[in-house]
Every structure is written in structure tokens, then in C-alpha cells.
Amino acid sequence: MIIEHHPADEFLVRIAAGSLPGGESLLVSTHLEGCERCRDRLHLLQAVGGVLLDEIEPATMAPDAWVRTLARIDERESRFGGAALPLRAKASPSPPLALPGGMTWPSSLRDCKVSRWHWMGPGMHFARLSMPHDPAAALFLLRIAEGRHLPRHTHDGLELTQVLHGSFDDGRAVFGAGDFDAADADVHHQPVVTSGGECVCLAHVGGSLRFDGRIAATIGGWIGM
């Protein structure tokens, strides 16, 4: 899998800094899961965080900080046992809904609640995702059949898309499995699923999409996009 479209550095900086909001951070994390290039950059940016931490001017702690830390350790050890704690094993999550053959379900979506597939047009389905700690995040899965296209639209806010399976072409470029896209108000596009099977995308919609056609806009409003 050759990944050609990556999140811009400012996304990776904000992931490293821990300041990217839930929905966007889920999209970027899903990308990172499959992209060694971006993981490599993230590690660099985390190292930047480490150096900045080392160089920051130390602040004064409360006088009892040390004692309270020890008490906390005591308390934790009495409840959960000794210090050496194995990392929680990450069971590879089973997909909560039917997927095209050969598609794997990203671990990053492990904790999301996922609705069933809803019909939104011939060959087009969507599902809603919700994150436990950010239930308001507008997260969707789109499953579009080969040759089908989403209605032409532009965006109020930023629309992030991570391709999980298959590929689409929106006139700007072809986006294949593993690719990431950020589309803002400057992008007016009509994604068409290219040959080679169904396309499944994870999408986060900041603001709302503005569909050109009235019927498309009605459907968009109805499904919450």
C-alpha cells in the first residue's frame, strides 16, 4: 500500500502536543496506524516535546507533593498490586458492522460506538460513529459502491477523510486506502469511487457540508452532515 496523501505537519504537531480535539485526533490516529512515514514524524515531534520539557523553567511544587505522590503509589499498590504492570493487551477489534471483503477494522476505532449501515442512496451507505469522550464529534463511515459518487459539495469547516478501503477520485487527486485528506471551504468536490470495488472512508465533518443540489442537501441534513 503506497500512501500518497498525508496529514499536514500542523496536525501531527497538535497530536504530539495533545491539543487536537477528539474527532480530528481519531482521524489522524487512524492514519498513523497505517503510515510509517507519519509515525516517524510523530516520534520526532514527540522528541521535540521531550526537549521542550527538559528545557522548561521548573516551577515550584506544593511542599507536600512528594509525600502525596508516595501515598498515591501506596494506595495504588494496595489496590492493584506491585509496580511492574504489563500493558493492557490490545485485542484486535472485530468489526462492529459488515465490511467489504479484505478490509481490516482499525484499532483506533476500538472504543467507538458504531451504528448500523444506513442507506443514503443507490450503492451508498453511511454509519455514525461516536467517541465515548467526545460524543458530539461528527464522525461518519461512508461505504460507497464502485462508480458511485457523492453529491458535489463544499464545506463550512474542515472535512477530514481517511480512506480505509478502495479509492475515490474527486478531480483533485485519487485517494486510495491509507490516504488522508483535509478539505476546507476552498475545495468544491464530487468524490467518485474508482474501479476496483467499494470504497470505505472514515470522515470527520467540522461545520457542515454544503451540497449543491436541493435533494442532496436534504439528504445531507437528514443524515447529519
Binding site: A8, D9, E10, L12, V13, R14, A17, G18, S19, G22, S29, L32, E33, E36, R39, D40, R41, L42, H43, L44, L45, Q46, A47, V48, G49, G50, V51, L52, L53, E55, I56, E57, P58, A59, T60, M61, A62, A65, W66, V67, R68, T69, L70, A71, R72, I73, D74, R76, F80, G82, A83, L85, L87, R88, K90, S108, R110, D111, H133, D134
Partner: protein, 246 residues
């Protein structure tokens, strides 16, 4: 916001080296408690006593190993003295009120203690590892607050901090691991030669919990400029690191 800075504040009291927490706490209860040399076999004890010198990477790693392999509280105290005031400063600058920042520093240090065994100096510098721990502790805390949950009583918070945040961090290929150690040595050098405007934007991104739009406002530059400076900074860092390697 500028954190209250007292570079010569007393180092935190240091526990005697013992595995019995109760005894440790009794002995260090007095304000005059200071680290004791408990024997030459002990890793890094001598350096624990020099309070105001920046510990070397090797010392930090040795202390961490001592915590991991023998629950060494003196080594933990040394790590606490170095990192806790820096974590405090970091968390305040991210916008945590003092009481919350104190809590989060304590929690971060508890995770350092309980998770020391998972730290691998071949993969990351300790300060980088701890930065990601503190960042995740902070995010988890804010998420729980937003969801109106009390801090979990039933689960070990150590298990939670990484459950949903570490997926991306952990998938290190062998290629990454090889590069990590040398890369991180170069980062400090690279950061120090970054043009001031790029370094400033980068620093604000990490420490002030500001959206890039807010940073643009504060610096009086367009949002696009913030983004392009970040791109330039990252590209420059990468270029400098490549240069150091060769």
C-alpha cells in the same frame, strides 16, 4: 502565563532507600530530610545528592532502571526532583490551575513508578517518554471532566492513560527504533538553531494549549502563516537531523 519560577527552591525531600513505604515516609517526614548515601552498590546515588545540576541522560536512564528492577525509591526521588517541577511548569502553561497541575504531576510520577519497566531507552529519551505520559494523563483527565466522570475507582488509571492514546505511539517498526536514539540527541541541537519565529510557533503549539487560530491572533499573523511556519520548522528539523547524521 509565566509560571512562578523558583530555581533554587528546595528539592523535594527524598526517601531513604527502602522497600517499605511506611518506614520511608516516617523518616522523610522532617523538612531537613535529605538523600542519604546508602552504599556504593547503589546505582547513581552520588549524583542524587547534587540537586541543581542537570542530570545526564545516562543518569536518568540508570535511575529509571533502578526503579524498574528494584523499586528503588532513592532513584525515584531523584527522578521526581528533576521532572516534577518541569512537569508542573508544563501543565500550568497548558492551562491547568495549580491544584489540578499538582494532581496531574503526581499521577504522571505514579505512572513513571508503576510503568518504569516498560520504558526502553533505545526507543526514546526519558524526557520524551515522560512528556507523552504527562500529555496523555492530562488529556484523559480533561476527557473525564468533560464526560462528567469521577476518576475511575475500579480501574487502575495506569491502564487508562494509554488505552486509547497510545495506539499510534506504540507501533514502532525496527526502522524507527534504530533511529530514535540518535534522532533525539539531534533534536536539541536542531531546535537551538531553528529561526526564532519558527521556534516560537512550535513552542506555543506545545505549551500553551492554543489552537493555531489563537496563536495567529496572539502573534498578529495570519493563520496560514502559523501553518506555514510549522511546516517550515518541521522541514528544517528534519533537514538538520539528516545533516547531523551524515
Amino acid at each position: 502565563m509565566r509560571p512562578g519560577v523558583m530555581p533554587h527552591a528546595d528539592p523535594p525531600p527524598v526517601a531513604m532507600r527502602t522497600n517499605k513505604m511506611e518506614r520511608a515516609r516516617h523518616r522523610m517526614a522532617g523538612p531537613a530530610a535529605r538523600p542519604a548515601r546508602t552504599g556504593t552498590s547503589h546505582v547513581g546515588v552520588a549524583s542524587v545528592t547534587s540537586a541543581h545540576r542537570m542530570p545526564t541522560t545516562d543518569e536518568l536512564n540508570q535511575w529509571m532502571r533502578a526503579v524498574a528492577t528494584s523499586s528503588d525509591r532513592l532513584a525515584f526521588a531523584a527522578l521526581f526532583r528533576h521532572f516534577a517541577p518541569r512537569l508542573m511548569s508544563y501543565l500550568r502553561r497548558c492551562g491547568s490551575p495549580d491544584a489540578q497541575a499538582e494532581e496531574l504531576v503526581q499521577e504522571t510520577m505514579v505512572i513513571l513508578w508503576r510503568r518504569a519497566v516498560t520504558f526502553d531507552p533505545a526507543k526514546a529519551q526519558l524526557s520524551t517518554w515522560l512528556f507523552t505520559v504527562a500529555r496523555n494523563v492530562r488529556i484523559s483527565h480533561l476527557r473525564r471532566l468533560a464526560a462528567g466522570e469521577a476518576p475511575a475507582a475500579s480501574a487502575d488509571p495506569c491502564d487508562q492513560w494509554d488505552a486509547d492514546l497510545q495506539a499510534a505511539d506504540q507501533a514502532l517498526g525496527p526502522h524507527d527504533q534504530l533511529l530514535a536514539a540518535q534522532r533525539e540527541r539531534g533534536v536539541r541541537r536542531a531546535l537551538s538553531v531553528l529561526p526564532a519565529d519558527q521556534a516560537r510557533v512550535l513552542q506555543l503549539s506545545y505549551f500553551e494549549e492554543q489552537s493555531h487560530a489563537r496563536i495567529a491572533e496572539e502573534l498578529g499573523i495570519p493563520l496560514g502563516t502559523v501553518k506555514s511556519r510549522i511546516r517550515l520548522a518541521v522541514a528544517q528539523l528534519r533537514r538538520l537531523l539528516d545533516g547531523f547524521d551524515s
